[in-house]
């Protein structure tokens, strides 16, 4: 029954979305309000129908309806409810349905919140959002249907979404016995959060894309599309950032190689829209404030969404080998064609409007050190990073295979050669640009403004030197990264101090009020601070990571830098509730003879799962200074007298997660609407304070 409900709801959603496209465009072109509203309602109905379909699949998963092939392939009777729920996005068909639902839900949210304020753009924006949704619904219905069921026809077992003639339902208890179970790598709490956040980040960019295309369609070349979609862009960017961070944390905990970022093609596929999306967030500010970069911003929004679709295509088609390519299927070609045509049409539309002279900027850059100039340079660096990462992940492997008949892999070695100079430029710009004024800034004024943050950076580096750091390269790196954080701290302090003096407030109130008065600015500063903190963590954990592999006997203690590690015992063949077999090593971390932590690194084995069915779970002792991170690599089966461990000391790695939290907080502040009456009141106070005597 649930399969029928899901199938019918998905089929109806396709009809509703197609109707929404037709009614919106027809109504807008013929100026028939009724049709436009009907199109809007159909778009909202599409989201509701996809919600029903997704809910039906989720309930079927929770109720273990193994006749549904998808459920048989991603779950088993031993699984806990949490992983049964997360199995919704555990493989291709379910995750595509979930992806499509999220996209329709975002579209519905954008329609509801912008209908009145951006009435002119809404019909076309609705049509664009529904066009993308239609493509994904079609994939779900015709290529990756999660509601297909097993049937017995005669003596054969067949799969079909509809009931074949003369078919009988198979014995569900037999299906339950043979159910495949979830990919072991997905048996982690991070998997309950990482995919949905990443999907939200991906699908969220459909909103700025739709508004941009709508503005091109109706010929509205003001900042309407940017204003309409600014918060949606930031929300998408926030979730994409969060998805990348959680993915890193998941890799750190589960993949068993002691790191958080492997420059894997699919990781990079998610990084690409983040890079262009970040460039877009910066350059759209220039258009809002100065009426400049109109063509460039439209190009960036198209490139961002194009990167989203490309990333989805790369992940789901197995375009390039990756640990993530567990969801391969026949969706590759349609997705490639969709990505290609969407990009071509959108760029064509921009060029057509530009060719007609309709995208002229309203101001010119007057000064090379003005904030808009530095933002343009910032955009250049983001795009250069995009090009370098795209080339390394997809360009070079595809070109060499297609034209030189050779398979190559560009790994960490390539990325650590190419990207560091660009990251240096990015951090320097992140430090200097906030000090520059719009329109014009003199070198002298900029130099004066950067002086105090530079001194603060020097003091910060002195602390590192006093703590024993002697590597000149590392100190230069920390200096460049921390400068941007110091600029943020100093600028915020200056503003709060001015506020405190003019309005007679205490420090806390002054900070709160400057943030409430200009959440975009101070939210942005917090994001910069978060990225600085993350940068410090990335530098520390990359440059100073220590790694060793040792074989130890039970009771033996070894020295690892300042720590001692004692191997206490091995518990073999422990059975977990979900049926996995765990081999757990018990080790103790000591420092100066004092016990710091008892760790239990382990190897999990999933006997029910075919293919990749082991997982290496680390044990780690964490603090802000470093992680002592232990992996169980192997052991002697006879009486487990010796075991082999890989031990990592990852300095400052937890700064990455802390920086991520600050980044999330900062984005929330940026998205938060300005306060109402209280802000107006505080503005009056400020006006009074700055009024000439």
């Amino acid at each position: 029954m649930l399969a029928e409900i899901g199938l019918i709801a998905t089929a109806l959603s396709l009809i509703a979305a197609l109707y929404a496209i037709g009614a919106s465009i027809y109504g807008e072109r013929r100026d028939l309000e009724g049709w436009v509203i009907s199109g809007r309602n159909a778009a909202l109905f599409t989201a509701a129908l996809l919600l029903i379909a997704t809910t039906a699949l989720t309930i079927a998963l929770m109720n273990q309806q193994y006749q549904i092939r998808y459920i048989w392939s991603v779950s088993s009777p031993n699984m806990t409810d949490l992983y049964r729920f997360t199995a919704l996005w555990g493989s291709q068909a379910g995750s595509l349905l979930f992806w499509t639902f999220l996209m329709a839900a975002f579209a519905a949210g954008a329609i509801l919140t912008n209908w009145r304020s951006n009435r002119q753009l809404m019909p076309y924006a609705t049509a664009v959002m529904m066009s993308v949704t239609v493509f994904f619904i079609a994939l779900v219905l015709f290529l990756e249907n999660p509601f297909e069921r097993y049937w017995i026809v005669g003596s054969e077992v067949v799969t079909s979404a509809l009931i074949p003639a003369g078919a009988m339902a198979p014995d569900t208890s037999r299906l339950a016995e043979t159910a495949n179970g979830l990919n072991p790598l997905l048996h982690h709490f991070g998997m309950a959060i990482h995919p949905p956040t990443l999907y939200i980040g991906f699908v969220g960019f459909v909103i700025p894309f739709a508004f941009a295309v709508a503005s091109l369609a109706v010929g509205d070349f003001t900042t309407s599309w940017i204003k309409a979609s600014r918060r949606w862009t930031l929300v998408a960017w926030l979730f994409l950032s969060l998805g990348l961070l959680l993915g890193g944390r998941w890799a750190y905990d589960v993949l068993g190689w002691g790191g958080y970022w492997g420059w894997d093609p699919v990781e990079n596929a998610a990084l690409l829209p983040w890079l262009v999306g970040t460039a877009l967030i910066h350059s759209s500010i220039i258009q809002e404030k100065r009426g400049m970069l109109k063509t460039w911003n439209l190009f960036l929004v198209v490139l961002t969404f194009s990167a989203v679709i490309f990333g989805t295509f790369a992940t789901r088609s197995g375009l390039v080998d990756s640990v993530h390519s567990f969801a391969r299927s026949g969706v590759g070609l349609p997705m490639f064609l969709f990505w290609f045509s969407l990009t071509l049409l959108s760029v064509g539309l921009i060029l057509w409007r530009r060719g007609r002279g309709e995208l002229r900027d309203e101001h010119r850059i007057r000064n090379y050190l003005s904030r808009e100039s530095l933002f343009v340079l910032n955009n250049f660096v983001f795009l250069a990073l995009f090009a370098a990462v795209f080339w390394g992940s997809f360009g070079a492997p595809i070109v060499s295979e297609m034209f030189m008949d050779t398979q190559i892999t560009l790994g960490e070695e390539y990325f650590l050669r190419v990207t560091p100079p660009l990251f240096v430029a990015l951090f320097l710009l992140m430090g200097i640009a906030p000090l520059s004024a719009w329109s014009a800034t003199s070198a002298r004024r900029l130099g004066r403004a950067v002086l105090v943050p530079l001194l603060m950076t020097a003091v910060f580096l002195l602390v590192f030197v006093l703590l024993g750091m002697s590597s000149i390269g590392a100190l230069v790196g920390y200096g460049i990264v921390s400068l941007s954080g110091m600029v943020v701290l100093y600028e915020t302090y200056r503003a709060a101090a001015a506020r405190r003096r003019s309005a007679g407030e205490n420090w806390l109130a002054a900070f709160a009020n400057i943030t409430r008065r200009n959440p975009r600015r101070y939210g942005g500063y917090l994001v910069h601070l978060g990225i600085t903190v993350m940068g410090i963590g990335m530098l520390g954990s990359t440059i100073f990571q220590f790694e060793t592999q040792r074989t130890m006997s039970v009771g033996e203690t070894i020295q690892v830098q300042d720590y001692q590690l004692r191997y206490d015992a091995l518990l073999e063949g422990q059975v977990a509730l979900d049926g996995r077999l765990m081999d757990i090593a018990e080790v103790t971390v000591l420092r100066d003879g004092q016990e710091l932590a008892h760790l239990r690194p382990r190897r999990d084995f999933f006997p029910e799962t075919a293919g990749l069915n082991t997982m290496t779970i680390s044990g780690s002792h964490s603090n802000m200074e470093r992680d002592f991170y232990v992996l169980l690599v192997g052991w002697e089966d006879i009486a487990a007298q010796s075991a082999t461990f890989k031990i990592f000391i990852n300095p400052l790695v937890n700064w990455i997660w802390l920086g991520g939290l600050i980044l999330v907080l900062g984005t929330f502040v940026s998205v938060w609407p300005r306060g109402g009456a209280r802000v107006r009141q505080s503005t009056r106070v400020e006006r009074a304070a700055v009024a000439p005597a």
Partner: protein, 182 residues
């Protein structure tokens, strides 16, 4: 047999034994020494991992050889251990893997043409992008004609006076006034 016949045979046997012992002692001196311990056993796991981390598993997907858990990779790590024990350098071992499995087992291809293609192309792209950016900035800077002279309606949507400038100038005034007060 004479009464000395028994004695003679004993003396003969003793001489023969002495000869045998002498020969065996000489032979023992010339025998090769005990075979040395397996050189691979002297190689540490860290040495193996240092090489394996520069290689990608030939059968898996984007996983370096030092972290790959499949049985074939354990064999390849044992092979690396053996090569190190035989005195081969890291480069020689990596080259051997490239010859056997192709350029996909290294993070950057060894083939000169592919290596150049991989490493130079991004910088060409960066140089082109930089050139475009600089050209754009110079072009904008050289045409100083502000379009703000157009009718106000033509520039609708763009903020004529950036609020941040107001804010910054007010902030600067506040700071200046505070300094004067002090």
């Amino acid at each position: 047999m004479s009464k000395y016949g028994f004695l003679k045979s004993w003396i003969g046997a003793l001489v023969l034994l002495a000869l045998l012992l002498t020969v065996s002692a000489v032979l023992a001196q010339d025998a090769p020494p005990e075979p040395p311990a397996d050189p691979a056993s002297e190689v540490t796991a860290d040495q193996v991992n240092a090489v394996a981390s520069q290689l990608y598993c030939p059968v898996c997907e984007n996983i370096t050889l030092d972290t790959c858990g499949v049985a074939a990779c354990e064999d390849w790590r044992a092979e690396i251990r053996m090569y190190i024990g035989m005195g081969m350098t890291d480069e020689e071992i990596i080259d051997d893997f490239v010859v056997r499995f192709g350029d996909r087992v290294v993070g950057t291809p060894q083939n000169p043409a592919l290596r150049a293609l991989s490493l130079v192309t991004p910088w060409i792209l960066v140089a082109l992008a930089l050139g475009f950016t600089v050209y754009t900035l110079i072009r904008w800077r050289s045409s100083r004609d502000e379009l703000s002279s157009k009718p106000a309606a033509a520039v609708a949507g763009a903020a004529a006076a950036p609020p941040d400038d107001d804010y910054r100038s007010r902030l600067e005034r506040d700071l200046a006034r505070d300094t004067e007060d002090e």
